[in-house]
């Protein structure tokens, strides 16, 4: 595995082994001929125009740096000025972004070239990428299996090398789980490290912007570009640049990792995942890493807490989409109420409608005290447990998913199994913790989690594992 695909590609551009226009055209051709249904739009004209500028720079004897000339994909929930941004929904099928999301603009400013708007579950509502008006994205390694979700298209594009990196969104596992099903790296940063401005909101209190890539260094490089305080997102925090050049190939011997016994003893955990995970733990022990078993909340409690909060927030966030100022409006209704009712009933998918209705139930009189506020208290309990755990260990390692990628169509028949497949990812989302999903020979990937703000420590540890195991 290359240490950095970004660096390798940029070295080839600077050495004039390939022109930037050729590189971008190659990626566009590959995206167009892909059978994975991973893209809602391919940005041919704008991408080739940007590529030509970088070729001109090289022709003038200058060297490309940063992310200059690197083609990347964008999950179709980010606004990118002048492009159609659908959130994979019918209601926004023709919505044109009036501005660009902060995170995407920072990547463009660093020279990266957006080549595709990527398929995903509608408004992030799903864990298989089947809840899309454009149809399901297929797994990078098996066309009969799901890509995972909600950022399925982004994971598949990176796994098939059709983009060098892609930007997904992770609310309860939407980067980490598709990274697992497609065997690439996917990173959910500390909540607030990357601005959410221009990301269509699902659950504002846990939505995170993060990259998919084929190496740890590429994750760190793209994260450095996107991170930082943004006046347009009050929840952003100041963060230090990750010192990628100081990453060591050796695993430090003073590391203690924690493993949650409730995760490993869960009967839904696929035996091959458990075996792969235990083997990785043994390999780390051989390298001098200390391992500590920890208790944690069970999967049902974590999933219930997450979904109750997520439903409430998405019902509130999506109330703005009513077809009045933008979106597909059902015309000629006699009353305003009927315009709203018909527009939203026709414009949202069954899964999205289900989540909005359940979210409004959670927030209504008779439920808000007993259900919603109780979930907020449990979330506090989860956060408190993480604070205690990270006084004892440096990292928590866990499987990313209890399942191998399901067959396309199965989760639509059994949505409860799909909700419960999020049980290992949602807790870290509720805590706002940084977590990497890494393809270290564990089927469906392994998660490495650290305390808030310790994004660099995770990537440093993961790089050492990537290089030494």
């Amino acid at each position: 595995m290359s240490e950095s695909t970004i660096q390798t590609v940029q070295d080839r551009l600077n050495a004039k082994e390939i022109s930037c226009v050729q590189l971008v055209q190659e990626k566009i051709d590959a995206l167009n001929s892909s059978t994975k249904n991973a893209n809602n739009a391919i940005l041919t004209e704008s991408a080739l125009k940007q590529a030509a500028k970088f070729d001109e720079k090289i022709a003038n004897g200058e060297k490309l740096s940063g992310l200059e000339g690197i083609p990347f994909g964008v999950k179709d929930v980010y606004l990118l000025k002048g492009t159609i941004s659908t959130a994979s929904s019918k209601i926004l099928k023709n919505y044109k972004s009036p501005y660009t999301a902060t995170s995407i603009q920072k990547l463009i400013d660093a020279g990266a070239i957006p080549v595709a708007k990527e398929n995903c579950d509608q408004f992030g509502h799903g864990s298989t990428n089947e809840n899309s008006v454009f149809g399901a994205t297929k797994n990078a390694h098996d066309n009969n299996k799901v890509a995972g979700g909600s950022s399925g298209g982004s994971a598949v594009n990176v796994a098939t090398k059709n983009t060098i990196f892609s930007i997904g969104g992770d609310t309860g596992g939407s980067i980490r789980q598709p990274a697992g099903y497609n065997k690439v790296f996917g990173f959910k940063p500390t909540y607030g490290r990357v601005s959410r401005f221009g990301l269509m909101a699902y659950t504002s209190s846990s939505d995170c912007v993060g990259p998919f890539a084929n190496s740890v260094k590429d994750i760190a490089t793209t994260l450095n570009v996107m991170s930082g305080k943004d006046g347009k997102d009050q929840t952003t925090v100041v963060s230090e640049n990750i010192d990628i050049n100081s990453f060591s190939k050796e695993i430090a011997t003073d590391i203690t990792v924690g493993v949650y016994t409730s995760f490993l003893n869960n009967p839904s955990l696929d035996p091959s995942i458990k075996e792969g995970f235990n083997k990785l733990i043994d390999q780390l022990k051989d390298k001098g890493v200390k391992v500590k078993e920890l208790d944690f909340f069970n999967g049902d409690t974590l999933t219930a807490t997450y979904y109750i909060i997520a439903l409430a927030e998405t019902a509130s966030n999506l109330s703005r989409i009513d077809g009045i100022a933008y979106g597909s409006r059902v015309m000629d209704k006699e009353t305003l109420a009927n315009t709203y009712l018909d527009t939203r009933s026709e414009g949202f998918s069954e899964e999205t409608k289900k989540r909005i209705i359940a979210g409004n139930q959670v927030l209504s009189v008779g439920y808000s005290e007993e259900i919603y506020k109780k979930a907020l208290i449990v979330r506090k309990g989860i956060e408190a447990k993480f604070v205690k755990d990270f006084n004892e260990v440096d990292f928590i390692l866990s499987p990313t998913s209890p399942l191998l990628a399901p067959t396309i169509g199965d989760s639509l028949k059994d949505p409860l199994t799909m909700y419960l497949s999020d049980m290992y990812t949602v807790g870290f989302s509720l805590g706002g913790l940084p977590t990497l999903s890494a393809p270290f020979n564990v089927p469906s990937n392994v998660q490495i989690t650290a305390k808030k703000g310790a994004d660099e420590e995770i990537l440093r540890f993961a790089y050492a594992i990537e290089q030494s195991l």
Binding site: D322, I324, A325, S328, K353, R355, K374, E383, A384
Partner: protein
């Protein structure tokens, strides 16, 4: 129109939310929650940006107008509010 239909502005017939509402029972039954030591997840209000109007570009304005679902000449058409 039932209460949930009114709150959601979505027709509730044929929408089955029972699998989601099963989570409500799970959360009711969680007890002995220790919240001591939890970190504040709330946004601080002492670092707000200045409350000033920043005009968007003419290009952005044009895109916003282009997104409007119904137009008649230079007018933007909205549903009738007063019956």
């Amino acid at each position: 129109m039932d209460k949930l239909e009114q709150l959601s502005n979505i027709k509730t017939e044929e929408i089955n939310i029972s699998q989601i509402t099963d989570f409500f029972e799970t959360i009711k039954n969680v007890d002995n929650i220790d919240t001591k030591g939890s970190e504040d997840h709330i946004v601080k209000s002492d670092n707000l940006r200045e409350d000033v109007v920043i005009n968007c570009s003419s290009e952005e304005k044009a895109l916003i107008m282009e997104n409007f679902p119904a137009k008649q000449g230079t007018y933007l058409v909205v549903p009738k509010v007063i019956q």
